[in-house]
Symmetry: D2
Subunit: 361 residues, 4 copies
């Protein structure tokens, strides 16, 4: 695979930092451009960012100069690929500018997830939806486009549900989440609000989770996604966990399924097999048999943070089956999801390579 230059928009936030961590030493991608808010422009990344990850900030990244957060005015060439980790309001304004300028915008924001011509994609779940980019007017005009990945609370859930939907059909989904504080960014949740506490509310989260699940598990028919015809009810909670969203799920199937059939569906699920994508985990859905798992501290880093762990499969007195699913919210649920989308797009030939000479050291 030829190397690509990539940029990160919103590079100083929690998800932006995860992009840097995941793209550092990436075999295909090379970070050449960083931008965040206006006030960080012109500073080095090291000055502009309060690094919060437990791996060291790479020195050459720390030394990079923050660029303007618009396509114009970049020192050197603007990379063709932009990973965007922006607040929704800002994304709504900035992402189209980069798409119009010909960039492949791989976005983690909610701004365009539900737009009719924007794919909302988890590669293992609905990679075929990526075709939707060809409808985008930007694509036709400049070659640019926007691809989105889902909310951090939706991604683990749809990974667990997809193989079940394929085999048994899903009629109803009940999900109650316990979400990590890193999902709220930095400074995010005040310590006085969450230490020894639960906040049973995350603004707009239940709505996003409910509608994104329907689109992700929907079917691309021509130009349009036919949403999954299932009832979804979500309760979203914030808990005192640093990383890793835990979700209690009850589901009703269209066809009866046995415990063994469900376990088989999960273990056989490996739709990216053979594609050799650097960020794809070996088994995207891993079943853990111990009665008290999955747990955020013990299971979030499976598959380098890209696998979802399921456990506690048992019958539900109300629907058919209950289980628990856990995934890392800023890796699988955000930056890693976007990087994996980019890898798939690279395999599909939808990302322009850079000539090797242009790769900076």
């Amino acid at each position: 695979m030829e190397r690509r230059n990539v940029g990160i928009l919103g590079a100083t936030g929690m998800v932006g930092q995860r992009f840097i961590q995941l793209l550092h030493n990436h075999p295909w991608f090379n970070i050449t451009w960083l931008a965040a808010s206006d006030r960080s422009q012109g500073k080095t990344y090291g000055e502009a960012c309060k690094w919060k990850l437990d791996t060291p900030l790479p020195k050459h990244i720390a030394a990079m100069t923050m660029q303007p957060n618009v396509p114009q005015g970049a020192t050197g060439e603007l990379p063709h690929i932009i990973f965007a980790a922006l607040d929704s309001d800002i994304a709504k304004e900035l992402e189209p500018k980069f798409a119009a300028a010909g960039c492949a915008v791989i976005s983690n924001s909610s701004a365009f997830r539900m737009a009719a011509d924007v794919p909302l994609v988890v590669p293992e779940v609905n990679g075929d939806h990526l075709d939707m980019i060809e409808q985008q007017s930007w694509r036709k005009d400049s070659g640019g486009y926007i691809v989105t990945n889902p909310n951090c609370s939706a991604i683990g859930l749809v990974l667990a549900l997809k193989p079940l939907e394929t085999k048994f059909g899903i009629e109803s989904i009940f999900v109650s989440t316990m979400q990590a504080v890193s999902g709220a960014g930095y400074p995010g949740v005040p310590s006085l609000d969450i230490m020894g506490n639960v906040i049973p509310f995350i603004k707009n989260e239940e709505e996003k989770l409910q509608e994104e699940v329907a689109k992700l598990l929907g079917t691309l028919r021509g130009d349009e996604v036919a949403m999954l015809d299932a009832k979804v009810s979500a309760h979203c909670n914030r808990v005192a966990v640093e990383d890793g969203h835990t979700e209690c799920v009850s589901i009703k199937f269209k066809r009866k399924a046995t415990r063994e059939e469900i376990l088989a569906a999960w273990s056989e699920f490996d739709p990216l097999h053979g594609q050799h994508l650097p960020t794809a985990p070996e088994n995207p859905v891993q079943f853990e048999d111990a009665p008290d798992r999955p747990q955020p501290r013990l299971d979030r880093m499976r598959g380098a943070g890209m696998a979802a762990t399921v456990g506690r499969l048992r019958e539900c007195p109300l629907l058919d089956w209950k289980f628990v699913v856990l995934s890392h919210n800023t890796i699988r649920g955000a930056a890693g999801a976007a990087v994996l989308n980019a890898e798939v797009l690279a395999r599909l030939g939808k990302l322009k390579p850079v000539k090797p000479a242009a790769v900076t050291a």
Copy 2:
């Protein structure tokens, strides 16, 4: 109300300590007897107990001598009323001995909750079930009996559900809990298991919650409780909270209910009104309108820890309505529940008073 002497069995554990805290300065009850495991017998309470509450251990309690944990051999007279805070296995063995000896055993254990002739009672919910004690053979033989209160995860839930069941009828209940570590006693949950973590499993808790709700909301017909005919599905989780269980609930009613009707049902719910029970809160179910409430740290002490707080009432895409309920697990959910049961029994004339002269200072 004449004063009663009371004893605490299992006095050194977390719930035992709450009993001491709640009964200290109680206007009707006077602690005269304490017992715990065999190895604490003969020690003072101060020596036997690692006091973990943030109010001081009363000095005269600290100086009391731990008694044998059987009816025989007490220094002085055995009190007629025994508050029991024992592990289920031990409760199964010891509680009947005290009932046989003529004691009113007010038990927080799960050992006899589902027994056919033992009332499982939350006074605001099914106080009439207390009549079941008259069926107990101990009652007939010695006057003694066993009365139980529910699991800490069931009690807030049934308080919130009872006024709704009365008005609209309940068909299905989905509940996902986030339970405090104090519910597991001391030493209980290791810090390495829960700091920055969620444990999506509490042994036997989902089963208890499901069956106890059906009995508590059931109807006493003659000698028997007809269980509530509703489907109940529980997901039980342990979170990093010291005190206070938070529960996400979805319900389906038999008759349609509007938001206003539900709020009215909660605000009008005050079945103990006029009884002047010292431990009964003014409003057992308090609705909090702020979008991010109830929260354990902010709401668990409402009504001195005896009120349940409900919030986030909203429509459920799957059943009819969703809401969140919170209650203090070691006060309302354990020791306070038992004390309130005893107060109701005292009003009913089912507790023998002591002659004032017998009250120790």
Copy 3:
């Protein structure tokens, strides 16, 4: 004692909320005026404040209208007594205006603590320093003045040290603190910074602690405080505790002291005895003998949050003695300290009473 009307400046912050909690039902003081930032003016307190305490916000306080944060323009009369809980920069600007307007400003801010004519007072430690108000030009012009209480990290320490300084003389002090997040206000410390973590730095805290201890334990000679002539070295740390500052202390005395003499000095220390101040704890310094105490969760509420708890007294291989001291940082260390200062000033006749008719319901 005649009732006084009081106002709270900075009423919506964490310390402001504690003022409301502590002054609600205060036998001498009556809250009649509330102010905070410009943007809260005109709102009700309930609208302006995100209440974070676990006791309910009193309804009549919630309904009060926020006043301008300057002496002019108040609806109704400006109270003579202003409790101020402002950031230092703002305090520097606003507090003198209220003093100039004739108010007794009882300040929790650091702005004027080290000013030559402003008393920095903990009543049990250096109540005689209150005489310094008579030097203030505001006092001479309008009758108004400023009185300050120390930083939350200094107050528990000086309570523990004062009886030892009196009896044995202090030569050197080493103190290493573990401070609660509530000390940083709200939103204050981001959860991502403190969960499962320690921050070994609080801006300016070590400097404040070192210099305030010297003034608090200093001697008023005529118009001036002669600072304590002792070396003080502080290490200040933030830890994952909601309320309660824990401090490890080593000290060297001028005269040798035995363990018994130190314990006696602490237990006999009761300088406010007989004054019947509502907020003064019975024993301001309480020794706890258990080897693993004091602890924030178990000991911060002693004396209704106004007592300091000492423990772990043992010999120091480097200086003379080591011990641990703990106090509640937003009660004893902030709002409660200011209220106690006001009570002492009331006893001294330095607060103007209101005529009973002016007291609002």
Copy 4:
């Protein structure tokens, strides 16, 4: 380097698990023997152990059969090298048996640390003390010996102090620790004791820290270690941190040192340079310039958990300088320390290699 077979004694505890994590894929060592308590004997490791680390338990380790915890009766050959992670009482009994049987016992226990003929070693600090093994009677009889590494609270401290002691001489040390819960093993610290709390006491920890520092910084003269002649005073605290001990240090030197000299001493400190030990970090003492560092969450994994991070260097009003040091307590402070000791012993030719044929897959 020829491969060695190694065993782990106490393999199921927190430190035992770290041994497995660190020795898995180790280039020189090959785990062939595991033992823990009597009741685990005969079980597989997967059955006997509650794995608590966030990297997966290697499958071939999970399948290994737990051996008797004495030299006799092992299935297959007893490895020459035993990493021991035992409680002190048990270590006192078992470790000599393995030494007598000819094993190199690399111990993390406190049982023999202060024994006159047992080296207490941190390779970067006092690697030359390893010569002491030649005095041990076991060594003379069977070739076996015991080597120990220090308490987890001492190791970061002596790494930071060693280069300063060498250059400036140390006269006095004041240290106040904030120690992680993993240092207490599993189940260890109950969550009710540490959530939102500080425990200012760890049994025997201050004594161990004080005496071990003196031995580690002492000088081997002939057969004996001359202890460092410095006063050491420790305050040890447990805080709500999973991994990583933070220590506030004040020191007095024999010769004056400037800030630049101290920073230079740390940055030049690299005594294992050129030895190519797999577990040795590149820079064992790393200075971090940001004002609020080091922090456990951000810095404990430097050098793969083997580097100590220092920061906040500033003048001390009482002694000469103050700083903060942080190190990972179960890697650098326990299992990693032992593995590094073994690597040094291998370089010194004091570990018998296995013949390649004997290495299990």
